[in-house]
């Protein structure tokens, strides 16, 4: 492995930790079905070249380099993390003491060691950003590369923001391992809607770590739509660290031929009277592999927590595999928690009913699969995004079933 000169001691230490562990292998419990072992042997470019792809999005991350194009909305700042900390000494102290990363893995260290550009999207107190901010996350490399990206989203109290992320690979790119860390801080009464659309190339491996801290009376509606990539891993961690916090986690994955999609979610309820609602659905096509691991922690102080989790999957092919594992750890006694996972095939009786009305087998299957995924898509309130996702999902399912 070759690395650039590291500047800070923190980076050097992180690199040492990563080197000691390497990429996760299937011997690691949390990476059992989603090994990255082969990357330990690869000759990679660790400092991929700067990109300047055309994009209409105001927020852009091109090969790890994040910038904001055009005028910032009123009450929003976009600055480097270093400048942010200097401008907010009180936050700096809090930041150092932020909650530990659960399910620690070597990739966070790799990111810390090698990330070169960490920016903060900062929404000031009481500011409602009317227009959704689109974030294009773009990857492209001439030779096999590892790309580290990091973004901080900081919502002050009573702020409100909708973020639409579109992660994609430029056509013709070489193999890329993308390691993306986001740390999101949602203060009291703040509101965040965040839609992630992951539609990457078949030679892209993308690992998304999203850590969200929520304080009292805040609400986060997060959507992860995993459409394409050779390998997609989402580590989504919610720290519910206030009272009357609402955390909504929605996920939809449609892995196809030679694709693996792994959703590892953690909801950590630390204070009383909060709620979390988790709805994940998967349609597995071709020889796809899917993984869902959903952890819910209810700490001793978190009385009156309502935490619900549901994960439903349809195997649309006899060659597809789904692995599900809900994990609830509850230390408080006055809580309402439920979880349920199902994995099955399309209902034969429903297929026959549709066919008996003249609908072909392929169209009947598409119709039923779309009906199945619609529940998640319908929760997206941003119309343009909803339509785009619907089109992409219909086309992916139709193409796969036509083979």
């Amino acid at each position: 492995m070759l690395y650039t000169e590291l500047t800070s001691s923190a980076q050097k230490q992180a690199l040492e930790r990563f080197k000691a562990k390497g990429f996760p292998t299937n011997k690691w419990e949390e990476w059992k079905y989603a090994s990255l072992k082969s990357w330990n042997e690869k000759d990679l470019d660790w400092t991929p070249a700067a990109l300047n792809e055309n994009s209409s999005a105001s927020l852009q991350t091109q090969n790890g380099n994040t910038s904001f194009k055009g005028a910032l909305p009123a009450g929003v700042e976009f600055i480097s993390f270093d400048a942010f900390i200097v401008a907010n000494p009180t936050i700096a102290a809090k930041w150092e003491q932020r909650l530990p990363i659960l399910d620690q893995n070597s990739l966070y260290d790799l990111n810390t060691a090698l990330v070169v550009n960490t920016q903060v999207l900062w929404v000031k107190a009481g500011v409602t950003v009317d227009q959704a901010i689109t974030h294009d996350f773009i990857l492209s490399a001439a030779i096999a590369s590892a790309v580290q990206s990091r973004l901080i989203v900081y919502l002050e109290a009573d702020a409100s923001l909708t973020l639409i992320e579109r992660a994609f690979t430029i056509a013709g790119s070489a193999e890329v391992l993308s390691n993306f860390v986001q740390e999101i801080y949602v203060n009291e009464q703040a509101n965040l809607t965040y839609v992630k659309e992951q539609d990457l190339a078949q030679n892209t491996t993308h690992i998304d770590h999203t850590f969200i801290t929520q304080l009292s009376n805040s609400q986060v509606d997060l959507f992860t739509f995993s459409l394409n990539a050779a390998y997609l891993r989402n580590n989504l961690h919610f720290y519910s660290d206030g009272e009357k916090v609402v955390s909504n986690l929605n996920g939809l994955y449609v892995p196809g031929e030679d694709q693996l999609m792994d959703s590892h979610t953690v909801v950590d309820h630390r204070k009383p009277n909060s709620e979390s609602h988790e709805l994940y659905k998967g349609v597995l096509l071709g020889n796809a592999t899917g993984v869902f691991n959903g952890k819910i922690f209810v700490r001793p102080d978190a009385q009156k927590t309502n935490a619900f989790q549901s994960c439903k999957n349809v195997l649309a092919s006899t060659r597809a595999t789904m692995n599900t594992k809900p994990q609830l750890e509850i230390w408080a006694d006055d809580v309402k928690c439920s979880h349920g996972t199902t994995t099955g095939q399309l209902n034969e009786e429903a297929l026959f009913y549709l066919r008996s009305r003249g609908i072909s087998l392929a169209n009947a299957r598409t119709l039923l699969l779309l009906a199945f995924v619609q529940e998640v898509i319908d929760r997206v309130t941003h119309e343009e995004t909803k339509l785009r996702l619907t089109d992409k999902i219909i086309s992916k399912i139709q193409t796969s079933l036509a083979i």
Binding site: E349, F352, R355, S356, R357, G358, I359, L367, A371
Partner: protein, 250 residues
């Protein structure tokens, strides 16, 4: 229109149809009656193409084509319709959306131009009046949370939209109160024409008070053991099936 010759079918190892012969011409209404387990619903299912059943012998010709050679969707496109005894609940799919797909797929099969949204609206409105069904019901997820009567009216609405040449009503009267029964039967009667035919599969005679059959057939142990006119249904109502069974020497 429909010519069934020595039709035999089984599910798993169990023989259910053991040689059915039946001729149906355009304009006719045939009632198929019989005790529970005689094979009535199996016959309806085999004609519609349900894959749980294996046809082990015989032939079925429908409008000059080998029906058994066609997929369920092709049978529908050729003009066959099955009103289900237990219509399936399909969450997330509305009746109107599903009927639009069905109609346009059938039109494509027949080499016709697809209908547009305005044409659908007009057509649906007309057909809704046949069974006194409400738009709000058709916008809801298919059959989900529908009452028994609503489900059966929805079946007849679909029949009205698809205008089949041959409609098979499988125990359409089951689970219906007398008012719902009348509405459903009126719908079926309005759709009757000299060009189409209907098979009414039923256990009880009461549906036949409203849909008057030209022929009544009694199915027993996988065979038609007696055929007659509409008066046979009345006789069955009065005397049950035992006298026919004992006449068979069983």
């Amino acid at each position: 229109m429909l010519s069934i010759k020595n039709l035999q079918a089984r599910i798993g190892e169990k023989e259910i149809l053991k040689g059915i012969n039946l001729e149906i011409k355009a304009g006719e209404v045939h009632a198929i009656m019989g005790p529970n387990g005689s094979g009535k619903s199996t016959l309806a299912s085999v004609l519609a193409g349900r894959e749980d059943y294996e046809v082990t012998g015989g032939s079925v010709e429908f409008l000059g084509k080998d029906l058994l050679d066609l997929a369920p969707e092709e049978r529908a496109a050729e003009g066959l319709f099955l009103a289900f005894q237990y219509p399936v609940e399909i969450p997330g799919v509305s009746t109107t959306n599903f009927m639009k797909s069905a109609v346009n797929e059938i039109r494509k099969y027949r080499g016709e131009e697809p209908l547009d949204a305005v044409q659908f609206l007009k057509m649906f409105k007309e057909k809704m009046s046949y069974v006194n069904i409400d738009q709000s019901l058709l916008s809801r997820a298919l059959n989900e949370g529908f009452s028994g009567g609503e489900k059966k009216r929805n079946e007849i609405f679909q029949m009205a939209v698809l205008e089949p040449k041959l409609a098979i009503l499988d125990e359409t009267d089951s689970g219906l109160d007398i008012d719902a029964l009348r509405i459903v039967a009126e719908g079926v009667n309005k759709l009757k024409s000299p060009d189409n035919a209907t098979i009414v599969v039923t256990h009880y005679q009461r549906l036949l008070d409203y849909i008057i059959p030209d022929f009544v057939h009694v199915l027993y142990k996988g065979k038609i053991v007696k055929s007659g006119g509409k008066e046979l249904a009345l006789e069955l109502e009065e005397r049950g099936y035992d006298w026919i069974i004992s006449a068979l020497g069983e």
